[in-house]
């Protein structure tokens, strides 16, 4: 697969966090990780339209670059470009785990065991996402990871691990270097805790 095409689609799916429903987003990211570009090209633009998710110009360019070469319908792709500003992040985040997580957080331990010192991986953090008031409703774990290469595959791999551990719709944000973070990710990072650091130094997500 063309790395630029793959990278474009990965960045687009990264920017759709918190906008596209979780159950669709993780699935599209899985398909990208498996290289199913033709499938994404035929399904992602329609999903955006059906869920009334408008893209800004940057995102639109990523969609065009990533999926038009794989047969996405031009009319559908064209219709995704919105005019109004993209809706800002509607979630709140906390760095501390909700009460239902056991005092031993086995997911966090497993991520630590898997990614600590791993090549091409930088900082690994996690945050807890809430809808509305913190403490009401359920909190969802969001993993925030910096990586230099193989981002879609790393995303897919971690998603599979989290699913086996019980998170049906995992939120794994693998962020490339020099990425202009959307509001969703900035808010998540602002209230996150460090899980571990891979082999790559100097890719801090949060200023020390």
């Amino acid at each position: 697969m063309d790395p630029d095409i793959e990278q474009s689609t990965h960045e687009l799916l990264l920017r759709l966090a918190g906008r596209l429903p979780d159950q669709l987003l993780w699935r599209f990211r899985d398909w990208l990780g498996e290289g199913a570009m033709g499938t994404l090209a035929r399904t992602l633009p329609r999903s955006l339209l059906k869920h009334r998710i408008d893209l800004d110009q940057t995102e639109y360019r990523l969609l065009v670059a990533g999926l038009i070469p794989h047969g996405a319908d031009w009319h559908q792709v064209s219709s995704t470009l919105g005019v109004d500003d993209v809706t800002e992040n509607r979630y709140t985040f906390t760095s501390s785990a909700p009460e239902w997580v056991n005092s031993v957080d086995s997911v966090s331990v497993l991520i630590h065991a898997t990614l600590r010192g791993r090549p091409d991986v930088g900082e690994v953090r996690q945050s807890w996402r809430h809808v509305g008031v913190v403490g009401q409703g359920t909190a969802k774990r969001v993993l925030l990871i910096t990586a230099l290469s193989g981002l879609p595959r790393l995303t897919g791999e971690l998603q599979r691990v989290l699913r086996v551990l019980g998170d049906e719709e995992p939120s794994v944000e693998v962020i490339p270097p020099r990425f202009d973070l959307p509001g969703y990710h900035r808010a998540a990072l602002a209230d996150s805790e460090l899980v571990c650091v891979g082999a790559v130094e100097g890719t801090r997500l949060v200023a020390a």
């Binding site: 699935r27 035929r42 019980g166």
Partner: protein, 376 residues
């Protein structure tokens, strides 16, 4: 069997059932999340999204399908105005897949289900039985947590499988019971996956209105109900998913979990059933002495009939043919013989009463109305 493309033109009504039946055949081969989401999308009339999710999951996971399944997916994609060329990316392999899943009825898989579905089962029409089992093996390329509870729902002809799958799943989730719900209607043969699951399953809820004396999860032995055209994909010849044709099936491969009316008076009060052998032992202890004697005789002559009696199947509608009273059987003690003489007389009396009752009610036996919900 009928080639799906040669069938009559499909209207919007039959497409959902076609996809539902395809999902039944894919159970255990794609992940449970995809199955559940696709069924919800079908129930919500988003057929295009359901078939795209299904096809995309198969493509991305490189999960092989038969050419018949590929054609069926292409057809549903086309009929739901999706891009039918998506089906060209499917990995086609005609090799018959081997069911490698392991199921277990240990640790009460049915626990809490009857209570969680109380309202749902009152409202939804023609639900015949609900069984549950644990699956201990992963499904698909992106499996979820294990063990996975599999809930098997059997419907009569008036039930709508996609709608029931969605509603039952919703009610169970609301009650905090995580599961994947497999709903089968009449006229659809069961895959090896479903046969293996039902063989180990425990009953959670069973109605008293079963239409035949065969178990709910046993493929129909001879008589095939007027099957809707939509059921054809899973019965197609050469299909990889090992669907048994109801017309060719002569006997079940293995006895299935007995159907027991555990509904009344309080399903919640039922202790969790354990292994099947224990279940049978417990159930035997619950029988009246008359039934024990009858069961003993029946088992000696016909193990299958004995299981049916143990399951309480013939209860309302069937008159059990009592085996001849063999008081010379050396395996019987003196006490047994005395008891048997007394009970045989009692059972004969009961048989006469049942026969009289059946003559009165025979016409109203459930299942007489074979209206399919897909009938025009």
């Amino acid at each position: 069997m009928v080639e799906v493309h040669d069938g009559p033109p499909m209207d919007g009504f039959s497409v959902p059932l076609r996809l539902h039946n395809l999902l039944l055949a894919l159970a255990g081969r794609i992940d449970d999340s995809a199955l559940t989401e696709a069924r919800e999308l079908i129930a919500r009339a988003h057929i295009d999204e359901a078939v795209e999710l299904t096809t995309g999951t198969l493509i991305a996971g490189r999960i092989p399908v038969s050419s018949a399944e590929q054609r069926e997916l292409a057809l549903v994609l086309e009929m739901s105005r999706s891009d039918a060329t998506l089906a060209n990316d499917l990995l086609v392999d005609e090799t018959e897949p081997v069911n490698t899943h392991r199921f277990s009825g240990e640790n009460a898989p049915e626990f809490g289900i009857a209570e969680a579905l109380d309202r749902t089962l009152q409202v939804l029409p023609d639900v015949r039985s609900v069984h549950a089992v644990w699956r201990n093996t992963p499904a698909g390329s992106v499996p979820g947590a294990l063990p996975q509870r599999v809930v098997l729902v059997e419907l009569g002809p008036e039930g709508n499988p996609p709608a029931v799958a969605f509603r039952v799943d919703t009610a169970l989730r609301r009650a905090g019971i995580h599961s994947v719900v497999e709903v089968s209607g009449p006229g659809v043969a069961h895959s090896e996956y479903h046969q293996a699951a039902s063989a180990a399953a425990s009953p959670a809820w069973v109605t008293g209105s079963t239409t035949s004396s065969s178990s709910s999860f046993r493929p129909e032995p001879v008589a095939k109900p007027p099957a809707p055209v939509t059921s054809e994909p899973v019965a197609e010849s050469g299909s990889r998913h090992s669907m048994r044709s109801s017309s060719t099936t002569t006997a079940p491969a293995e006895p299935v979990a007995p159907v027991v009316p555990i509904v009344s008076p309080s399903p919640a009060a039922e202790p969790p059933r354990k292994a099947r052998s224990e279940t049978r032992a417990e159930r035997t202890a619950d029988l009246t002495p008359a039934e024990v004697a009858q069961l003993r005789q029946a088992l000696a002559e016909d193990p299958e009939k004995g299981r049916e009696i143990a399951a309480g199947k013939p209860s309302m509608h069937e008159v059990v043919e009592l085996p001849a009273l063999d008081l010379d059987d050396p395996s019987l003690s003196e006490r047994d013989r005395a008891l048997l003489r007394e009970l045989h007389a009692e059972l004969a009396e009961r048989e006469r009463a049942e026969a009289a009752k059946m003559r009165l009610n025979g016409a109203s036996r459930s299942g007489g109305d074979q209206r399919g919900w897909t009938a025009p």
